[in-house]
Every structure is written in C-alpha cells, then in structure tokens.
C-alpha cells in the first residue's frame, strides 16, 4: 500500500468511516462551496471616515506610518517627501502595476527601477490589493504588477492603497479576491502585512527590521 493510501486508511479506521458516506461528502462539499463567515468582530463594522480612522489607528499601533493623499497624482510627491524626511536616497523600485504606472513620477527627482528585487534595493513601492481596518493589515497579491520580493527585500517598503479598498474585516477581502481570481482560485501568494518586520528572539525584546523591511509606510489614496 502506498504511503498516501495507508494514511487515508488509518484516518478512516480511527474515525470509523469509509469515506464514501453521501451525507459526509455532501456536508464537506457544502462547506467548501458556501464558506460560511463565522463570527466577525464588531470592531471593523464601521464605514467611511470612521473605517479609515480605525485602519490608521491599527496600522500605527503595529508601527507602520500612514499618510493620506487626495488623489493618485499626489502619490509620487508624497513618497519623495517621505524619503527625503528620512534621509533616504531618492531611489525607488516598483513592478508594472498600471495604477502606479499612471502616476506622474517624472514630476519628482526619484530614480525609478522596474521589476523584482535582487536584494540590493533600499526602497520599493507596491500597490496593495486592499487592506483590513480591523487590524491595520495590508493585503498584497503576487504578480509582475507587484512582485513579492518587493515586500520583503528592501529596507523601506512603501505601500499604496485606495481608501475604497480598505475593508472592515478579512472576510470582505476574501470576497473580493474570489471575485477577482475566481472561486477557490488563488494567486501564487497573498501577503497580509501588519507593520514592519520584527523579532523578539533575543531576550524577548522586540526589535524592528529582522529580515524584512525596517519601515512600512502606507499611502492612502482618498479619491
């Protein structure tokens, strides 16, 4: 018997089932199809400015920094200012996200590099798929638009998110992902990111910048 068959046989022997029971199969298929929500905390069930304020509060509690701009056209200047204020070089790596492409980068002195990171970039910008106000979490999906390496290799990760894409809870983001990618189909990687990288492994003291970015800066586009 193959290892696979053996493991299945032992599970079924222990559970006292055959695996062919119509009722069980129906119950499991139904749950996978319906994906019931469970208990969603009241905290995130707010909208508009209140939701944005909650997102900000939670993201900042996780030690991210947040800035708001009125429209997409203001993003490049805002990022240039962030880099200057932190004495960081005016360089920026990004993928091929059309939302970022349309922004007026030429109005800044930023030196733009394209494509995934090979590990030597100081600054990168990604466009988030969405965010979750409940915990101040950014949601990013992989693809050449926003390569996953940009989320982890640079020292400073800047994430742009549209205010309308900030959901109250995780469940709302899953609905959008299903709508965008198809039911039970996922992009290679979905990253939930809540604050910058950190470690408490030395004497349980929290230190920022373990292996991933030392800074997570979020730009919310309100338009």
């Amino acid at each position: 018997m193959s290892a696979r068959d053996d493991v299945f046989a032992n599970i079924r022997r222990s559970l006292g089932v055959k695996g062919s029971e119509t009722i069980r199969r129906q119950m499991v298929a139904d749950r996978l199809e319906r994906a019931p929500k469970g208990l969603v905390p009241a905290r995130g069930q707010v909208s508009g400015e209140e939701r944005l304020a909650l997102f900000r509060l939670q993201a900042e509690a996780a030690l991210a920094t947040v800035t708001e701009v009125a429209g997409a056209a203001e993003v490049p200047q805002s990022i240039a200012l962030f880099l200057r204020n932190h004495n960081l070089p005016a360089t920026l790596r990004m993928g091929s996200d059309p939302r970022l492409d349309r922004m007026p980068w030429a109005e800044t002195a930023l030196e733009i590099a394209r494509g995934p990171s090979a590990g030597s970039d100081l600054n990168a910008v990604s466009h988030a798929f969405g965010a979750v106000a409940e915990s101040g979490t950014m949601v990013l999906v992989s693809g050449s638009d926003n390569p996953s390496t940009l989320n982890f290799l640079p020292d400073n990760h800047i994430v742009v998110v549209a205010a309308k894409d900030i959901a109250g809870d995780y469940e709302s983001v899953w609905s959008r992902i299903r709508f965008a990618f198809g039911k039970s189909t996922m992009p290679r990687t979905v990253n939930w990111i809540t604050g910058p990288s950190r470690s408490g492994d030395i004497e349980q003291t929290m230190l920022l910048g373990a292996h991933g970015p030392r800074r997570l800066h979020i730009v919310v586009v309100k338009d």
């Binding site: 599970i11 069980r24 499991v28 996978l32 090979a118 996953s148 349980q204 230190l207 292996h211 991933g212």
Partner: protein
C-alpha cells in the same frame, strides 16, 4: 523514533535546569512578557472568548472529516501545479525531502521555522547527505549555531541571554572584525540579518512549515514576524512545505477565525506581521516566486490519535500560550522535556508520538493548576489529557513501585470515608503541631522530592473536609 530524546531523564534534566543560573535568568523573560501581553490583547477584543469557541469548533469539524478535507486539499494543490507527498513516518518524510533536494541539485537549503522539521530531524539528515541547511528564523539560527533544540515552540532561543548569543556570533562569524561592538541586541540582529541575507539569495531550495492548510484552495499558510519564511519561499527555485495532516482547515473564512486568536494567544499581537498564503508555484506571468512547490504531509502517529481521547490534542495551533502560563515550564524551561514539544502541549503530545514508556514523566510534570487550559485558544483540556496519560501509565505498570504503593494506600483510604477522615485528621494534626513554629517544613519523610527544591507549607491543624463542613455550617446558619 525520530530525533534523540532525553524525556526518560526528565527528573535529571529538571534538576540541572533548576541549578542553571543563565537559564533561570532567561526564563524570567517568559514570565514577564507573554502573560501580560496575551491578557491585554484578549481584553481588547470583546469577541475573543467566542472566537476561541469558533476556533475549537472549526478544528473539531475538520478532524471529524479529515479524510475528505485532505482529498479536497490534495486536489487543489495539484490543480494549482503543486505536488503533495504523504509520509507515514519521520524516515519517509526525510527521504522525500532529500529526494526533492537532490532533484533540484541543491547545495544549500534555507529553512523557515518548522516544528515538524525538528520532529523529523531534517537538518541532520540533509547534512549527512552533503546538503547545508540554514535556519533563518533568528532564534532558530542562534540555536543551530549552538547545536541545540528549540526550548519553546514560538521562541526557540528563549533559554538564552544576549551575552551568550554574542559569544556564538563571535565564534562563528569569523569573517567579521573581531573588535566590532555587539553589546546591544540590535547589533546582534543587524549582524544576523546581513549574514543571512547572503544565504537567502544563494539557496537552491527553501523549506517552510505551515500553520494551516486550506482545503478550499490548496493553500499553505505561514505566520511570522521576521519575514524569513517569505524570503525562504520566494527566492529559491523550489519551495517545500513540510507539515502534518492535522493542519487542515476547510476555508479561508475558517482560517480567518483562527488567525484572530493565534497571534493574540501567542505574542499578544492583534495579528502577526506576516501572514502568507501560498498556492502552488509561480504563475506563468509572475516575475518572482518559486518554480516548484511541494507539500510533504507527515502523519507520524497522528492518524492513530483520531477517535481517541487524544484527538483533542490535534486541535493544537502551536501558539505556545500553554507553556507561557505553565509554572513547571517557568521553572525548568523547554529542554528539560527532552524532545521537540515542551510545556503542557508537549506533555500530552509527546507520549502519543514517542510512547508513554519514554515520555511518562512529562504528564506527571504538572501541578494541575489548569492555567494552560484556561488560555488555550482552541480549548484543549490539557490537564484532563495529562491525567489520561497518568492512568494509562498506571494501567501498563510503568509507574514506579513506590508511587504505585502510595496510590494504592491512598485508594484504600479514599474508599473508606470514615477511616480517611480519621487518618487525615491525625496526619494534619501532627504536621500542624510540628510545623507551628516555622509555618513550613524544609524536610519531611517520604517527601524529599518536594522539599529538595522548596519548603512544604505546614497545615494549620485542620483537614480540608473539616473546614468545609465548618464553613458550610456557618454559611447556612
């Protein structure tokens, strides 16, 4: 058998741990930090207790239909271009992983934190076959340099102090300036980041564990704060997920329920920094990510726990709250438990995986104070399960003769209430009188095991039953 165990020597291990001043200093960090942070996070979320129920119910439901959810999961992984390998034993899992690494022509392998990797002893096996495994979680990296096992499931180097880490870095990182300043923890972190960055970029294969597997989508999930698990999986050409069969949950909604209690219970965070959902290899249009995606699903005794009272242990989501709140863990640390999983969850799981004959001391290393159960996010009745192991140990005549005869004497008295009252009244009276001056005993006959490390408080001359009767009488009067 998997990795070497010193669980049979628990008593010797514990005695050594109690005398280890470095360890005792480091263990102070557990007592201080984790408990307060968890409590604050739990109090901040009004639905926290209800979410614990929800998490428990989801895991119970999945375990009841584990065969069907595994089938669905396997189908989805394959549909997304990945491979699923089943391993009955640690040895089979090691063989599968070595095979994948060889096929990839691997010379170095980076590793995210994985308790299953510890359980099967994969590092040693890769090394023995000419492949260099590099732990990338800071705590795991430190203990790899020291050739040690993790002493905690989420804080593997919690038994160490910064000065010890500094010594290890100076010993191993000999390519760096010997006069460099490493007096601050942040300098140690920065050095490890730089050293490991090179390793990440050079690795041929990345091995991570999985906190959860989602049947709906064929997704594996890791939860980290450092980002090492992500660099481990997106940079090399091959990503291996090394995990076990009980990590399944039905849907993305289900795992979102459990994630709401995981970080809060573990570190007191609302959410860990990186929660990563990985499905198959990189897509055709992707510009980064692994080209090959393998999942190795370990059984190693778990399927036999289903349908028994120990099935409840399979709900465990490895948050570490039980050990963070355990007075025994606080006193002796994780290494004393002698195998991979320490603390209360280890005391229940280890006998299932390596046998009660080897791990019998562990379920006995408990005061039954119940704190572990009171904080467990999936409500595993850990004290009850430890008691089940004690019963089995007794039934199989593995309990030492002195304890057996003691228990028999107690059993004889307990079945004869009148005699029990007389005997306890006499004993409490004598002890109360003898201990009246100091209020405690530094030495007692037949209780050396207790009084060697702490004093025994003197009874106040009255038995519990007598006091119970008196108080009840007073209240009803």
């Amino acid at each position: 058998m998997t990795v070497h165990t010193t669980s049979p020597q628990f008593k010797t291990n514990a005695a050594r741990a109690l005398a280890d001043t470095q360890l005792q200093k480091a263990l102070g960090n557990v007592k201080q930090g984790f408990i307060d942070k968890r409590r604050a996070a739990a109090e901040k979320l009004p639905e926290f207790e209800a979410l614990r129920d929800s998490a428990r119910d989801i895991k119970n439901h999945t375990l009841q239909h584990l065969d069907l959810y595994l089938e669905a999961y396997e189908g989805k992984v394959k549909a997304s271009g990945g491979h699923v390998h089943f391993a009955r034993t640690a040895e089979e899992a090691r063989g599968i992983i070595l095979g994948i690494c060889r096929e990839a022509g691997a010379r170095t392998v980076t590793k995210g934190k994985s308790m299953i990797a510890e359980e099967i002893g994969i590092n040693h096996h890769l090394e023995a076959n000419g492949i260099v495994p590099v732990e990338t979680d800071l705590g795991e990296y430190i203990i790899q340099l020291r050739n040690e096992m993790p002493s905690h499931i989420i804080a593997p180097a919690v038994h160490l102090n910064a000065t010890q880490v500094e010594q290890d870095f100076r010993r191993v990182h000999t390519h760096l300036d010997a006069k460099r300043d490493l007096s601050e923890p942040v300098q140690l972190l920065t050095e490890a980041r730089a050293v490991l960055r090179e390793r990440f970029l050079a690795a041929d294969v990345g091995i991570t564990g999985a906190n959860f597997l989602v049947a709906e989508t064929g997704t594996s999930i890791i939860v980290t704060n450092e980002g090492n698990g992500d660099l481990t999986q997106i940079l090399p050409k091959t990503h291996i997920v090394l995990t076990s069969i009980e990590k399944l949950v039905p849907t993305l909604e289900d795992v979102s329920q459990i994630l709401r209690v995981l970080a809060r219970s573990a570190t007191g965070q609302e959410m860990s920094v990186y929660t990563t959902f990985s499905t198959g290899p990189r897509r055709a249009a992707d510009s980064d990510g692994p080209e090959n995606y393998h999942v190795v699903l370990l059984d190693n005794g778990r399927s036999s726990m289903l349908g028994t009272s120990f099935e409840e242990m399979l709900r465990c989501i490895r948050c570490g709250a039980c050990m963070n709140h355990c007075p025994v863990y606080h006193a002796v640390g994780g290494h004393a438990y002698g195998w991979v999983y320490p603390g209360p969850m280890g005391a229940v799981l280890t006998p299932s995986l390596i046998g009660i004959d080897k791990a019998g001391h562990l379920p006995n290393a408990s005061t039954f104070c119940g704190r572990c159960e009171s904080v467990c996010p999936v409500r595993i009745p850990l004290p009850k399960l430890m008691r089940h192991w004690r019963e089995r140990e007794f039934e199989r005549h593995l309990t030492p003769a002195t304890i057996r005869s003691g228990l028999k004497t107690w059993g004889f008295l307990a079945r004869r209430p009148a005699l029990y009252r007389v005997a306890t009244r006499a004993a409490m009276g004598v002890l109360g009188l003898a201990g009246r001056a100091k209020g405690r005993f530094a030495w007692l006959p037949l209780a050396k095991g207790w009084t060697k490390y702490r004093d025994f408080p003197a009874p106040q001359g009255e038995t519990f039953q007598a006091r119970w009767r008196r108080e009840r009488h007073r209240r009803s009067a």
